[in-house]
Structures are given as C-alpha cells and as structure tokens.
C-alpha cells in the first residue's frame, strides 16, 4: 500500500501499526523487546555522528531504545504530532517538559483543577528551582490571560480535570497562550487521543500518563510527551531551546532541527540528564494496550455514562459530576472537544460524609479500592479518607472535594455487575445514615449541610 499514509490511514489502523515495522533482521511480527542497555557502533565515524546528533542512531537505552521508539511514534501518530519522547512515568514526562523549557525566575500558569500529584509537583519544583507559579480557574480564559506576564513560559492544563471533570476550552486557552508567546501544554491522560487530540485544537505539547488508559492493564508505570512541531521556539522567549547549547558544543536546537528542535532537546539533553527513561518491557506492554485503545475507550465511556446515569437516580447520592451528563455545565465543551465521550473517570457526592464514604467503600466486592485510574478493572477511592485525609472539610471544599466525594474509574466489566456492586455500597452507607440519626439526633445530617454539598 502506498499512500502518504499516516495522514490518511484511520485511527484504529495506526493504533495497531504506526511506529512498528516488521523486524527487518528476523521478520518478527510482534514488536521485539530490545532489552539492551547499549548498541555496537559500526565504526568510529558512525559513533561520532550519533553522539553529535548528525545521524539517527542508537547509543544508550537511557536516551533511546527501539522498543520504546515504536511506542513513541505510535502515540505521536495518534495525537498528530511531530514525534514523542517516552519517560519512566507521567510525572517524569511533565518534569521533562518543565526542565527543558524553564530556568529560575520563569513563570508557569496552570489550572488549579489539575491532578493533585501534578499540583504538588509544580509547587515543589517551583520552590526548589525558584520558579514562579500561578494557579487559575481553568474555565475562565480571562483568568489565564491576566495571570501571564513577561516571564511566563508555559500554560498548563488538563483536557479533562482530575478529579473534578472540568473540560478545558483548549482552543481558547491555546489562543491566550500564543498571545503571550507561550506554548500550551495539555495533560490528556483522561481523554486519550481516541477521545480528543489537543494538537488539532491548537495545543503545542501533549503529555500522558501512559499508566492509565494507553496501557489499560494497570501493569506498568510510564509517561510520554508529544510535540506538535509547530511552536516557534525562536520567538525570543525561549533562549533555552533557541540559543546555542553548551552541552552540545554550541548547537542551536531549534535552528538546526527546525520542527524537531524541542523533541531533540527533550531527548538528547533532558532525558539524558534526568535519566527517567521508560524500560523496553514497559514500552512493549503499553504497545499491546494501545492496539485496543479505541475498543476499550468505547466501552469505558459507555459504562461510565451508564453508571453516572444510574447513580443520579439513587436516593443516597447528592450529586454526580460527570461532564458527559446532559445537565453538566461542561456539556457544550464536551460536544466540541469530546464528541465520542467524556472519559470514564468522575466523582459523585454521597450523603452522610466521611463515615458514609468509608462504609460505602468497605461494602464493595467488585470495585477495587486503590489509587489509580484508567484500568480495565473498575476502581474506586474516597479522597477524604485516603489521598486527601490530612485536609479539614473547608480545605477539601477548596480542592473541589466533599467529605462524601467518591471518585470512580469505570472499567470494562458488565454494567449490570458494576451497578449491583454499587448498590451494595449505597445500602451500607444508607444503613449508617439511619443509625447515625438515631444515635446523634441533634446533629444536623451531613446530607443537608451546605458546606458538604459545595
């Protein structure tokens, strides 16, 4: 088949084929796991050319590996980017972007509704590396605009926020970022390229925790950065990418490598220096996952909407925050950016607060109580007693979490079985509510406490 293909072939075809060609040496059809640290050079001239970045060559698996490269190209193809660099985890991938673009005194504007681990990472890095950081209300493009100033270098948001489920107006925020000569970096872990491709809407860099839906099996930790290849790093704001690099004898990455400049810098300097490389074994497992991405996401989305619709009819449930529900304030953005579905992770608010949350979780038999999302298995967590247990109720509220908030990551099981198990949990929580009313008649029920509902 000829064709200038990649651009014309469908998503599912590329999810199976992009980045991997039958091995020319053995004919192996599956992606070989190149479990090797290093690569023998043909001769000294070739070795020099590889180290000088004058030729595409394998040197050391901390920087590149053929199995990992197959995964990188596959994700780049699905996102519509110029290329990708894989990392040992999603947070390592984010750190890689920031390490590449920022120097002390630089400023980041980020959504305040990011995954808690990302917020912690940004705060921690800002403190350690003397960066300036502003968190903004992600739904308000004016807030992004007002936060930016001369030293701003990065705008950072999530396609679908974790766990609040807010949908980023990518096109609008990308426009604001570009007004300020900055790239928009989008964590698209919850959407996957099947549901949304931020580069098509103007985002410049997309980052994933591959640990979640890309793998889908919950076996491996990994991350990946995709670059659109379209941002002008020579606009005067990014001497770190545009100016001669002391680490490569004065090589100017953007001028020399053009649309591949950022990716070369990210790999040849940042990955080399931080050392957070993805292992070939994990890349192999992620590739297996990506092959079925569209089929799995269809089922994830369908099950999640089924669970959300059922939950909002249950008496013990105060609110269901799924951006795909008809009543969600994010409905117009979902129709624009996520027409195939708004993902499979959402929260709901249980009547009865912390104690009800504990009883609910403890009664479940099928949903796994753990701190991950995007697995084939359905997962559940009660932030107030786990990930956010140090916080008092007002602090929880500021994070968009109530004492009775439950986060679900809906898996691929049969919907009826998932609902039956949730019913078991809701019954346990409801029993507690009845007991509590009897035992403490003068205390107001958490269900009607406005702070809890907020």
């Amino acid at each position: 088949m000829a064709a200038d293909q990649g651009g014309e072939l469908g998503f599912d075809t590329r999810a199976i084929h992009a980045g991997q060609r039958p091995d020319p040496y053995t004919g192996a059809r599956a992606v070989p796991i190149f479990q090797t640290t290093s690569y023998v050079f043909e001769d000294t001239d070739s070795a020099a050319a590889y180290f000088n970045l004058q030729e595409y060559g394998n040197t050391y698996s901390r920087i590149m590996n053929p199995t990992v490269a197959a995964f990188e190209e596959r994700v780049a193809s699905l996102e519509g980017g110029a290329g990708a660099v894989a990392f040992a985890s999603g947070l390592a991938a984010q750190a890689g972007i920031l390490f590449t673009l920022l120097t002390p005194g630089d400023h980041i504007v980020a959504s305040q509704a990011l995954y808690g681990g990302s917020i912690t990472q940004l705060k921690h890095l800002a403190r350690k590396l003397a960066l300036d950081l502003t968190f903004v209300e992600p739904d308000d493009s004016e807030a992004w605009r007002k936060a930016a100033h001369d030293r701003t270098k990065v705008f950072f948001g999530e396609t679908i926020g974790n766990p609040a489920g807010n949908v980023l107006d990518i096109e609008a925020i990308a426009a604001v970022a570009h007004e300020h000569g900055c790239p928009l970096v989008v964590d698209s872990t919850f959407a996957t390229p099947y549901l949304c491709r931020p580069i098509e809407w103007g985002a410049d860099i997309v980052v994933h925790s591959a640990t979640k839906f890309l793998g889908g099996h919950g076996t491996s930790i990994g991350g990946v950065v995709v670059d659109s290849g379209r941002f002008d790093w020579s606009n005067g704001r990014f001497p770190v990418v545009a100016d001669p690099s002391p680490a490569y004898h004065g090589l100017a990455f953007h001028e020399t490598f053009g649309v591949y400049g950022f990716l070369m810098k990210l790999r040849a300097e940042t990955l080399r220096d931080l050392g957070a490389a993805m292992s070939p074994m994990n890349a192999f497992l992620f590739l297996l996952g990506v092959e079925t991405l569209s089929l799995r996401m269809q089922r994830h989305v369908q099950n999640a909407l089924g669970v959300a619709r059922w939950l909002r009819e249950q008496p013990g449930v105060l609110e269901v925050r799924h951006p795909g529900l008809e009543e969600s304030p994010y409905r117009p953005l979902v129709e624009k950016y996520l027409p195939l579905g708004a993902g499979a992770i959402f929260t709901f608010e249980l009547a009865g607060g912390r104690e009800a949350g504990k009883k609910f979780i403890e009664a479940l038999q099928l949903w796994s109580h753990l701190a991950n999302v995007g697995d084939a298995r359905s997962l559940v967590i009660h932030p107030a007693t786990t990930t956010h247990r140090q916080l008092a109720d007002p602090e929880l509220a500021a994070a968009g979490i109530g004492p009775g908030t439950i986060r679900l990551s809906v898996g691929l099981e049969n919907l009826t079985d998932l609902l039956a198990d949730l019913e078991r949990g809701l019954s346990a929580a409801a029993r507690l509510a009845t007991d509590a009313t009897v035992a403490l008649p003068r205390k107001p029920s958490a269900a009607v406490d406005p702070e809890v509902v907020a």
Binding site: Q5, G6, G7, H17, Q54, G80, T256, G258
Partner: protein, 170 residues
C-alpha cells in the same frame, strides 16, 4: 491540517510541492546534490544535511562564495560555476533570493529544485516547475531520506509511514 513535523507552513498551495511520489523518485535517483548556502560551520542545519547526505552515498557539491571547501568538497561561488551536472539543487537561502537560484538551476540543467524548511517561494517554485524541474518546498532533504529510507523511527519521530512488509526500504 498540516501533518505534524512535515513542514513549517500551513499554506494549502504548498501540498503541490510535497508529493510523496516526487520525493521518493528524487531520493532514489539523485546522485549529486548541490547545496546552496551550505555552511562550513558544522553546527548549522545545512552542514547537518550535507554531512548526512554524504554518509548516505550522495555527492554533495557546496555552493558558497565565501569559502574554499566544505565537508571535503570544493565549494563553488554559484551554481553556474559547477563544471559538471547536478541532479538536485538544495536551497538553504532566504526566500527572496530563491527566484534567481531557480533560474540558475534551470540553466544548469538540474532535475530538481528542493527548498528546505521555511524556504518558501512560490515564484521560485513556478520558475522551476515551468522548466520541467521537480520542485519540493518546505521539506528537509535529510528528514525525507530518514523518513523513507533511514532511521528516523529510531528516535520516536512520527514518520507517517505504515507497512506490514518486511523490507520497508523503497
């Protein structure tokens, strides 16, 4: 929308000058490539491209009036000064000077006018095209070689190539 990594311009007129068939023909048949604006500085993009083309068996002919030789090859002040035929004229100059370079490429009997990333001149392209030259614009000769015949996929770049054939070389 432009495919990620294919070029620098979103101008829809450019697609005419990025034909896969033309690019494959050029890569397969060319032996001699005159690189106009080839820099002796080994950190510049033109030098990276010249170095790479030499490694992959092409004869590189530097066209640069300011230096004697580059990459071990004698440098000529202009295309007209090259005393033997060249297959490809590969341009690393400002778009404004491309029409004049295109005239020279035509006069020298070159088969292809190749304009690198960001070297966008529809006037120059038309001059080449009218004279029967193959014209490629806003693409990098090194990247296209690496995409179709090389190892670009070893570094996680999006080659946009998909095949279930064992031998992918063309």
């Amino acid at each position: 929308m432009r495919l990620g990594g294919s070029g620098t311009s979103d101008d829809p007129r450019i697609a005419e000058y990025q034909s896969r068939r033309d690019i494959l023909e050029i890569l397969r048949r060319a032996r001699t490539v005159a690189v106009v604006g080839l820099s002796p500085d080994e950190l510049r993009a033109s030098n990276f491209v010249g170095f790479y083309l030499q490694r992959h068996g092409y004869r590189v002919v530097p066209v640069n009036p300011r230096t004697e030789d580059i990459l071990g090859e004698r440098s000529y002040p202009s295309i007209a000064d090259i005393p033997f035929p060249v297959d490809v004229v590969d341009v690393f100059r400002r778009p404004e000077v491309v029409p004049a370079i295109a005239e020279e490429a035509v006069a020298a009997g070159a088969g292809t006018l190749w304009l690198q990333f960001g070297v966008i001149s529809f006037e120059g392209a038309e001059i080449g095209g009218r004279a029967g030259l193959r014209v490629v614009m806003d693409r990098c000769l090194k990247v296209e070689h690496a995409r179709y015949m090389g190892r670009m996929h070893w570094l996680g770049f999006n080659t946009w190539q998909v095949t279930a054939r064992r031998a992918w070389s063309v």
